[in-house]
Structures are given as C-alpha cells and as structure tokens.
Amino acid sequence: MATFDINKYRQMFLEEAEDIFETIDTILLDAEETNDMDTETINSLFRSVHTLKGNSASVELAMFAALAHELEFFMDRLRNGDLTFEEGMASLLMEGIDTLKQILELELSEQLEDHFYETTKSVLLQKLNSFSEDTAEIAIINEIYGEENQEFGLITPETVGEDFGLLEIHDGETIDDIPESLDDYFGFFDDEPTPAPIAIESSDDSFGFFDDLISTATSDDSFGFFDEMDLKAITSDDTEGFGFFTETFSAPENKIESAPKVVKEIEKANKSDKVDKVDKEIKKTKIDNTVSSIRVDLSKIDELMNNIGELVIAHSMLTQYTSTMEDQKIKSDLSERLDLIDRHIRELQESVMSVRMVPMETVFSKFPRVIRDTAKKLGKKIDFRHSGESVEIDKAMIEGLTDPLMHIVRNAMDHGIESSEHRLKIGKSETGILMMSAEQANGQMIIKIQDDGSGINVDRVTAKAIENGVIEEHQAASMSKEDKAMLIFAPGLSTAKEVTDISGRGVGMDVVMSNIKKLGGIVKVDTEDGFGTTLTIALPLTLAILDGLNIRVGEEQFILPLSVIIESLNPEPEMIKQIGDKSSEILMLRNEFIPIIRLHELFNIQLEDDHQLTDGLLIVVRSGSDKVALFVDEFMNQQQFVIKPLDKNFRNARGIGGATVRGDGTIGLIIDTMNILERTTY
C-alpha cells in the first residue's frame, strides 16, 4: 500500500505555511491598527489557522497541529460571536502565531521537548483564556478536542467518536430513543449492519472491511457517508434530495448499472436544444474568468531554462556551421530559417522567464510585521509606506534580497529614525516615515529604502573607520561625502553609541553589501543631515541570463557583464600614473583616480614583453561605488549568455564568477568584478 513521502509533503507544507503566516500577519497588523476586525476578516483568519492545523496534522506535526487547534478554537469563538474583538487581542494573537512558528521550527528539527511545549502552550492558553470568563467551558472542550493521537497527531477518530457518542446517547438509550430532531446526529452511529453494505460486501470479498465499518461505526470513522446517518430513522417521504442514496442502498446492483445511464441521458439532454446559446456563453465566460494557478518547484523552471540555454547553444553552433558553407543559395536559405528558430527561442525564453517572475508584493509583505515589532521594541512611531508592489522580480532573487532589506530596514529604524520626543523637539512629526519602493528602469530593478530620520553622521562614520583601521586618515581627506557614507558598509563598523539588539553593532551592513553584490546589484547612499537617508539598490532583473561583452585578453576570451561597465577608453600616456614602487598603476580620469588591473596578470596569460597599456583598451567597471579599470586587448561582440554556475572546486578562482557555453561549444568564463574589486580596494 502506498504511503506518503512525509519529507516531500513537509516541504510543501512549509511553503504553504509561510504564505499563510504572512496572510495572518497582515490581517492582525491591520486589526491592531484599526482596532477592529470585521466578519470577513475573522473568517479569513479562522480559515488560515484551520488550514495550518489540518495540513500540519497531515504531515505528522502533532504538536504544531495541537497548538494551531487552540488558536483556531479561539478564533472560532470570535467567529461565532462568543467573543468580541477587543484591544490587545490582535497583539496576543500575533504572539500566538509567533509561538506557532517557534514550535514549528523546533518540531521540524526534532528539538521540541515535551516540557517546553507544555509550558509554552499553557502560557499561551492562559493568555487566550484571559479574554473569556468561561474558562471552565474551554477546559472541557480542550479536553475533548485536545487529545492527540501519537500516530497522526490530531483528534483521534476513537476519542472523538466516543466523546460524541457519550455526549448525546445516555445510558440505556438506543438510537431509536433519540428524538426525531436529533436523527441527523445519530444516524451514523447505527449499531446494526444495514442491508446495503452487506450486499456490496457479498458482491466483492476483497471489501470485507465494509461490514466492520458500518456495523461498528465508531471503531473507524475516518470517513463516512452522509446517507448512512439516515438509514435508520429517516423515512422515504422526508428525504427529498436524498432519495438517490436510499435507493442505492436498497438495490445497489441495479444502481450501479443505471446511474451512469442517468448521467448520460442528462448529458444528452444538456447537449440538446434545451440549452440555449446564452447558457453556453455564460458557461464559457465562467471558465475563462477563473484564474487557476499551480505551484511549481523553482528547480523545474531552472531546468527548463537550462534546456533553453542548451537550445540557444545548439542554435549558435548551427549558425556558426552555416557561415562555413560555400553554396550561397543554401547558406542564405538556411540562415533565414535559423533566424526564425532564433525568434522562437527568444519567445520561449521570455515565457519561461516570465514564469520565474513574481511581484515585489511578495517581498514587501514580509515587512509590516517586522516593522511593527521593531518599532514597539524601540518605542518609536513608524509609518511604513511602500510602492511598486506589482513590479516583478526573479523569484530566485527574493531569498537573497529579503535578508539585506530586512537589515537595512532595521538599521534605518534603529539608527536613522529618531525617538518621538526628539522628533517633536526638532519640529518633525512624531511619526517617522519609512518608505520602500520598487521600479524597473533601464533593464534594472531599482529598490529604494528611504527614511526621514537624522541622516548618517558622515563625520562620525569616517572617524570610526579611521579608528578601526578601515581607512587611513589621508584617504579620508580625499573622499567625497558619498564615499564616506558608503563606509557604513565596511566590515566591523558601528557608530551607534549604544549597542541594541535590533541592529547590533553594525555587524551586518557589510554582509548586506556583499549579499547585494552577490545578486549582481549595486548600492548607493544619499544622506542629508537631519533629513534622512535613502539607500538605492540596483539589481539585474534576472540571475539566469546576462547581457555581456566578449573581451579578448591575449589568446583568451572572457565575458564581462554589461551592467558593470561604465565606460571604455584608449588611454593616453599622460593619463596613467605609477604609484609606490611602480608596481601599481592608476588611471587618472576627469580628476578621479581609478586603479588599473591588467587582466593578463590576473589570469596569468603569457604575452610578448613590453605590452603597453596604450596598446589596448581600459574598461572602467564598478561594483557598488568602487571602480576599477580593466586592461584588455580588444572588444569582441555583445551577446546574451545563459549563466551556468561553476563547479564547487572552481568557485574560489579569482575574478571568475560563472561560465557559459558559447556558440562554438567552447566554455566562456564570466568575469566577476565584485570579486576583483574586493581584492583591490581596502
């Protein structure tokens, strides 16, 4: 017999749970703000927790399911008017949801100890119960529902079945003693085997368990049939709408034959003239209007993308081969058809890309809760605004983006936005504003995080950087204000007078930078004393395809991402300065000093002696606000490349971030400017 792959389903559960938690957070935040919760919202809340409960039980997360059940019970009371929404409830429910998350994590990692669970649960229950006087009632109901089945993790069929039976049928009573009005509830617990199941049983021996099922219904009621509830008590004249089932039971063999016929006849009738055009139209629009979606594992899309990549490569191989053909007629015919294929491949590529894209809403929605909690902890008032929810971003980037954004936001709230008292004193409004926006421009994703706080104290940051040995004093002298502000991203720098548990000692802003760089992004800081700070992050739209430039270095070719290139030039001799022991060279470009890197040297490519910088090209590239000039021999062509990750063993190769397969089947290495720059500056 088939069994469920629990690990697979737990993974699916986690993905869904994350979405559900977000929905709940949004609802509760809103409720807290408006201090109200309408019926629809309560229903939605109930549904969310109910789903969490049911689904977690299905993947054998018993403790989580039981705790979810407690919260569900509370929400059910809200739903049926037993409790009314009051101040503090949203906050408490948020706490409850946090507890759920914590239990989930522990249970998944098998680190959940019974004692801890029991304590956590009882603390939460106590708080929940404080909203109601009827604690005794809750205790009873908890006892009924709260029994956990070791195997499945929820309400066992046995206990519940018995409990219900005991609740309603008193000693000495039989099913027939129950008043008519209660028939619905007890038809199911019929002790006597009914004719129908026996009939079915005798027709098929392999289904012997039917007898057990029906004759002792309480022993296994993990499923049931509504008509069984009627078998005994309901008479034929008051079963309108159920006649079919009763009939089925009385003569199952006949029905098996006739039921499909009935359906077919009805279908025939449906297809006949009786159904007029209007009806058909309605049906059609109904289907068209339904937005149905499925969840697909990202790796499957990656695989699809990979296959398209292979197709691109095969196509360019064919194109290359065509160019060697001598018969001009065949050559041009073939090229024409190849162009057509090229167009289709591009369309295919775009379609697959669009599947990977998700709206920024997915990212934004993670913030309100964090901001609320952080603001509460800091005792500050903060209004979070965001725009550009519908701007789409590569799903693969979200994971890498959320953490850095979270850190930036926490930092802005902790160090940027002032306390309410201070804000009032300096004539600002009491509530600080934190804005997050997303837009697409020039084939890039631009994300801005803006606060109206005190701005970065550039002098203090600089002093700290000098003190910590991040930069030398003389370096600071030549730095622009913007460069100085960028020092907040240097490792081990904190200017906050007090270390808080929100953003810590400034550990992390350097991690933020490297995470964003990993995504191929750059960060810019604009800060104005007393008026706040804006962080601008520019990211490529996707991680899968790259617009790149083929460059030649000696006999080798490399690919340089187009997005990092600022400009290129044939340097004049006077633009090049040598510093120190003449081992380093600097390009002087419009009063800016840019270090030069000879790619030949970096990649150990042999060249004839006396290779002059003026013989080749300098390409100025950036990573963050750092710049470096790369010395190459020649530009080749610009092209789209499908990025393939490097094997683990090669990931430490200096200056190389990935690879691609070229049209001729050879491997092309993609230059990682961030990696080059990291080893050049500081």
Binding site: G54, I266, N289
Partner: protein, 122 residues
Amino acid sequence: MAKILIVDDSNMLRDMVKYALNEGGYPEVTEAVDGVDGLAKATAVAFDLIVTDINMPNMNGFDLIVELRKLPTYAKTPILTLTTEKNDEMKAKGKAVGATGWIVKPFVPEQLLKAVGIVLSR
C-alpha cells in the same frame, strides 16, 4: 476509467490526494484550487467523483456542492468532502448540501481509497 476532480486550496493536500488516487489505480485526476475553479472545471468535464475540501477561499466546499447539485450532470455524482472536523455540525451541513460522504484529515491512502472504492462501486 473514473475521472476524479480534487478541489482543495492547499497544493500539498491536492498532491496527497492525487498521489493516493494515482497509486490506487485512478490515473485520471484533475485538480482545482477552490470552489470557483472546481465549479468551472466540473462544468467543462463530467467527472465521476469529486473530492473537495470544505474550508476554501472564494467559494467553500459546501457552496460548491450546492452549485454542483443544481447541475443535472452532477445531481447524483458522488461527492466526498475532506474535513478536519467530523463533528455533528459538519455532518448536518454536509448532508444538507447533498454531499455523499466525508473523509477525515489526516488520512492515509488506504482510507481514502476505501471510501473512493465504495462510492464508485455503488
């Protein structure tokens, strides 16, 4: 071969039901994400059995069953509900809307197939 429609807003549960059905010898399984989707799909194809969740956004399982029962094609088609609760309220409601039976979550494939086997052999 029986054509079965699963209606559930949880991807995970749909997958579980589908897996159990496939393993149990029912390869023709269609999925719908909520009542509205389920109704649309059921209108397009005549299914032999519908397994539906109750708690769903847009249109819940009970409302779906009410709508389905209005259609001549589905007047007598077996409809099983997937439910976490199997209290009296659920049973009364299920019966009232015309559902055929219920399956309690969590379930094991065997239980589901047992129930499906019974309704399909009627």
